[in-house]
Symmetry: D2
Subunit: 363 residues, 4 copies
């Protein structure tokens, strides 16, 4: 029942979609990391709605850093990020107070909180809260950059359209981090957006798959068993609303392959051991092997749709039908990209701190 995650580096979040504000506290960061406010804004912009394929609810996402930064650097004590909600239209939700939206947490919140939950816009369950996660993740990414560690995520698939594979990882990461709609192939990007628009016009929504790579990680991060790199990353990733699958390396595809295809090799290069063609995503036995870390997340279609759905009135315990109103995304996969980057960054900072101690990012 904690609202925090992480051991040596820890993140705590709070807030509701239509409440006063969203808050994240990021603790355990190395002191002396230079804060680049523009970079944080840049990361937040990658979570912002994109033109017609996103919700018309636009939030300025003006963040304030309330603690943990002094004279432009992290102090080493907890960093607090505050984002006030400004553009809330709670009236739109009033008639939904007792109608459970299918696919949403409305009914499970009722089962857990007995009617005391803030139902407006999904309350604490809303993807809105990820705004502060992204801001905190941006600071974590600045720490990782100090050690040459870079993260990039693309939409590998959306509404049935696939992006191309990673080719030059360094260049691809760079390109992705300059895109709002993170697709490597421009042609695929256009097709995906067209499909999202089409679904939107039908009052429906689409899902997708995000693929993330991390370069520059040392071998030796993670633990056997319960703190395996896969365990800790998936724990955070599955906390992001809408993620229903996580796979490392070739993931579920590996299940259909032979051992001889999956194993890859090890080789001596420049006096160091390097893995080659290993399909495990850069992790063996829960521990990084120095190769590119690679994983994929399945993102479900937005549950809010503008089609009539059968559901219940939770107060009167009656069946009823519901058709969404308000402002909603016909797809969230492109916006979840920034959240996956943030989750990855915070988790990797934690793993680095556990392995190399508090001062890992500056020493």
């Amino acid at each position: 029942m904690k609202s925090s995650f992480g051991q040596s580096v820890n993140i705590c979040i709070a807030g509701e979609s239509h409440g006063e504000a969203l808050v994240a506290v990021l603790s355990g960061l190395t002191p002396g990391i230079k804060i680049d406010m523009d970079y944080i804004r840049h990361c937040l912009s990658q979570r912002a709605p994109v033109g017609k394929i996103s919700t018309p609810r636009h939030e300025a996402d003006e963040f304030e850093i309330l603690s943990g930064v002094f004279e432009g650097h992290t102090t080493g004590t907890p960093v607090t990020i505050l984002i006030r909600n400004t553009n809330t239209k709670s009236k739109d939700y009033s008639e939904m107070a007792s109608a459970a939206r299918p696919g949403h947490a409305d009914f499970t919140a009722e089962a857990k909180y007995h009617g005391f939950q803030d139902f407006r816009g999904g309350g604490h369950f809303s993807g809105r809260i990820t705004a502060v996660l992204v801001a905190a993740g941006a600071i974590a990414r600045l720490a990782l950059k100090n050690k040459g560690i870079e993260i990039g995520t693309h939409i590998a698939k959306c509404a049935g359209i696939s992006d191309r594979y990673f080719e030059n990882v360094a260049e691809d990461i760079k390109a992705l981090n300059n895109k709002c709609f993170a697709v490597l192939s421009d042609e695929s990007a256009e097709k995906m957006q067209a499909e999202i628009l089409k679904a939107s016009e039908e009052g429906d929504s689409v899902g997708g798959v995000l693929e993330t790579v991390v370069s520059g990680l040392p071998a030796g991060l993670g633990e056997p068993w319960f703190d395996s790199m896969e365990s800790v990353l998936s724990h955070f990733l599955f906390s992001i609303p809408g993620i229903k699958g996580v796979e490392f390396g070739s993931g579920f595809a590996v299940a259909d392959m032979k051992g001889s295809e999956v194993n890859g090799e090890l080789r001596i290069e420049n006096g160091k051991i390097v893995p080659v063609n290993d399909l495990s995503g850069g992790i063996n036995g829960g521990i990084t092997n120095g190769d590119i870390l690679k994983f994929r997340c399945a993102v479900r279609p937005t549950p809010t749709i503008f089609k009539e759905q059968k559901t219940v009135d939770m107060k009167n315990l009656e069946n009823k039908t519901l058709c969404a109103k308000g402002r909603h995304d016909p797809a969230i996969v492109h916006r979840v990209r920034a959240v996956v980057d943030a989750a990855t960054a915070i988790t990797l900072c934690d793993m680095m701190a556990q392995r190399f101690g508090t001062d890992w990012a500056t020493k």
Copy 2:
């Protein structure tokens, strides 16, 4: 760097493949759970090698309960399970001491432990350690049975062969728990075993997909964000050696579907709200909705194969080739089944204890 997992109910494990013994400590269980030794042995038998499709290393898996059980019931204090290793043939591994086996943790262990790791048979990274997990999980399952909660896992796919889908969940769970090779369709089971044997004869190995269902869970378990049911379950599942993907409900398939297809409905039945045709695996917003819990795990092919592989000598930093000797499984998916059941049971006990308090299993 903890070797334990869980909050209100916690599991701690230790041991190595060719060390003295394996140990699990399971703490936080409700006092008064009746211990059924035969049931624990039954669960262990489902992890044991199966005929020709498994390693010829047979361990009696004689376990001892060293603490936490008194006069046939759990006391509420930590339960310790000990299994001594008896059938260890370390000589087979001696020449592998410095040769890193591709796909294994040999190289990552070297990167982390600098040569001090017990390299014999994978040491602490070995699937062998799961024997005590399965025994601990059996006790957790006895606690869940007290509340009518049942777990069943089948091999949904192996070496390209698919099992049938779940039909009558209660009956299918019952059937699976009486099978050593957990496939619902006998025809599929035969085909899978034939494929495993074929791979074995080629000196190769195959992977698969396990699908798990849980019946009888109340709505309201799990938390929004970091302690979501998906987060906590995946954390444990990804700690099991060989698991490279976890998905809930329709998982990655949902990524290609429309919101209107995925959402399902809610309905009043006998005065209670029930979800119908929801494809989220029984979890919305991280919290159980009272429906059948459903998830799938991708299990990679055993990395140890009898084909020549390119690798390195870690001591002399030289390239070399390696061909496995010793005793190995051409597939582990059928044995991992028992471990997934155990991981699920322990995690669900923890979630029940957090929600309903210490005495949840008997009150």
Copy 3:
């Protein structure tokens, strides 16, 4: 390196003495606890400076609840409390930037944060941060009151003057909770205040001992070993700046007594087992016995004094002398009282939630 504490109920804090704001996130509380804003203000007033015996820095301590409360009740999701710093005079501290104040954390902060710490007014180490703890604690106390659990703390000793012992615990708790200077005997209170004033005039400071009692706790809270009631309470209490000793029951005095004097008895009263004259503070084997919980905390004299002290310049690594300027308390024991109450309340909510589940406070 987490800035949070607690398992089922958890508190996370952030902020600096002269930073933008202080933040606390309290998570895991039972949904449906009625929020009494006046009571929170009342608890904060007990932490506020008292007349001449406290610092002239007066903060309005206007708090905002940013999340977790909806329509006047807790939602069950994280409650965020924000207090902005308004009355900061950082100039007073500028010349102290490199001078380590003896008895303070200035030097240890330097050793840990390498010059990046916010040195103004003690930064993150300042007792100022306890303001949000007290507000969070007030909400925890409201939850406990739902179950008839009441907390009271008095200044058992200050500057050599002792208060009287507890007599009628229920009445004494009530009386204490209406006092700003929490002393049971008015005569002792006057003497203590006179001593504090005298020390203040000498530019010095005094310490004291706080004694806390809790009524209404059920038997059976806490665990053997690492989560003993003493362990968890002392963990929180020792995080409060200035506390250098914690003892339960007769504490250090018990060390000089015989077993026959300490043990007390057990007796049947109204068909229930009750402890009588037990000097263990209501805890045996780490678990509450249903008696009044009782412990004492030693509070050191404020380290900031207006006498010349020998210290060092941390930048130039030179010896120097220092005489405090700015606004400081000649004693903090009377203000720490409110923080001890808050720490106790949050810890007990956690212990209740672990024992009885999420809904403990309302069911």
Copy 4:
């Protein structure tokens, strides 16, 4: 409800006084620490009964290391220590099954475990379990010795008799670690033992105070607030049966002093900042200052006494009287010494690992 403690270095314990065995799992230790079996035995001998002043129950305390040590060094994976109970006389306790011994955990165990607890000899609450803690602590001390960190504890007071103060800390630590009855002054030691014997002859028991010093610790260990050095150490110390008070530096005495007396100074010595005459026990703001770490623990008199005591029969809910039988210590303070050393060592390893990373003990 976890039976484990620690973040980067973690200890898990299990077992009962009259059960099969005691088990400790120590995880997160640096790989490559040389194991000195004689040193572990030596530490265990300091917890063993001493002549006439201890229980006649003598246990060989033959321990087995079941995992985590390979070729004489720690592997970096979990170390398991097993001690079988051999000299159990459960019959002596049979008539006590339903009689709650005053001062013991019998009644609180009943309140928590509803009759399922192993009541024999205190079960899981017994000081007997500390045997494995001491063995695990010995290994932790070997790690600390690698970095020049040494721990020493003396009986500062017992049955009203005081030991002399520490003089030359290095020499005093050395002397203490060669003593079974850890008193610096031989004259005081004799007087204490005489008092213990006298209490024993009266069928009564006595308590005492242990004082611990640690040399060689770097400045900068611990965190502000919840993971302060005092918080983490006291958490572990209060889990040791019989400890009812913990104080750092001058502790409760500081409460009667002036700020000018307590503060001490800082000084430049050999180009480094060093604290002088600081009475805070080597900790400011929760973080070590590089000075000798110093704290004291109050140890209550053994609750088992051979005098008639009033108590209850828990099954029949009747008042009754009880007079102890069996084998018991008239004092435990001299045996608890080894447990305090162990708890301190394990906690400090954790703090070092958090600060400097996994390899802190060998790099």
